[in-house]
């Protein structure tokens, strides 16, 4: 499912110009399609998050790039961790045991 600029603005409940300014600041990266933007589900969820950060959580415009950047790093790390887990799950028992033992010994 995808949304045009007008649909996205209505869905989030902000003006088009507000979303345009977010795009210009690279806070959200919708695809361009025939002179309009095309928001996918991930983009829409991100618009909603940005709106909540600004409106309800009172994150200022100035701090927003830092917050988004840290969140993106957090999600990237979590995604990598998830893949690592899957990869480890596919290893032989001996390898899994060894990894587990090494993690247990850390610190």
């Amino acid at each position: 499912m995808s949304w045009t600029m007008d649909q996205a603005a209505a869905e989030i409940g902000v003006e088009r110009t507000v979303i345009v300014s977010w795009i210009e600041q690279h806070w959200v990266l919708p695809a361009a399609s025939g002179g309009d933007y095309l928001f996918e589900e991930v983009d829409l969820a991100r618009l909603r998050l940005i709106n909540e950060l600004l409106d309800e959580l009172q994150i200022g415009e100035e701090a927003m790039p830092i917050v988004l950047n840290l969140l993106d790093q957090l999600y990237e790390a979590r995604a990598a961790l998830g893949e690592l887990e899957t990869a480890i799950a596919g290893c032989s028992d001996a390898v899994r045991d060894e990894i587990e033992a090494r993690i247990a010994r850390r610190g």
């Binding site: 996918e40 589900e41 999600y75 990237e76 979590r78 995604a79």
Partner: protein
Amino acid sequence: MAMRDPYEVLGVAKTAGADAIKQAYRKLAKRLHPDLNPGNAKIEQQFKEVSAAYHMLADAEKRRRYDAGEIDASGTERADSRKYYRSYAESGRGNKYRGFGTEEEINLGAPGDADDLFANLFGHRRFGQKVRMRGADVSYAATVEFLEAALGARKRLTLTDGKVIDFTVPPGTAEGQVLRLKGQGFAGFGDAPPGDAFVEIKVKPHPQFTRAGFDIHLEMPVTLQEAVLGGTIEVPTIDGRVSMAIPKGSNTGTQLRLKGKGVMNAKTHLRGDQYVQLKVVLPSQKDEKLAEMVERWAKDNPYKVR
């Protein structure tokens, strides 16, 4: 699920005003927002409870009905089926926001190229790019000094996300002119090219020079003797100071031309001219000798200016 008393959930008194309720909610939301706590189901549940409590108490009518016992706390529980950003961020669809705003993204334009944990661990690339899409164009505005626009300059634009764009302001750039910076827009997806950046130029006014097309205009004060007797004065141009001859018998409003001292016309590669408008300025202090001299001279030389 049995709902707790919304006042209790938000930790506010039954008599709390709308502002206090909003503040209490914001305080909790900062801690409990699910997108700030990925992978924590308990916190998500807590946030839903807080959110439902807030939405009931923030709505004056619902709050009144709850207070009057007409509805219970669960009566307003919204079917909160929305998906949070975190549901996408860790899946493949969040890829384009990886390495957000880092330098690697600017240079390579490929999402996921930045600090990839797996690349560091195992020394190989992880995310295959299947989508191919040209990046979006993007518009900015940049303010430049009058002389930078006239003579050309190298400028740097730093965007909010930390991306830095270097670009050239060509000589003779005019107010409102839009420069197209090829490939400086959003990164493309897959191996598709990035979009373009469009920079609208705003030119700051100069204390002395004004511009009309490719010509420069300047008002220059001259003394009485320079105007009456002629002489040579130094005049600023956009290239620096030059000498200019003042013809004998010049006046306020006399316009002199310095050929080729205007700005470059990019199409013809010819420069405009600088026009210097003279303004005769009398001595700032009262001068008795001058007064006597003019009095004597005026007797024989009446003239009309109105």
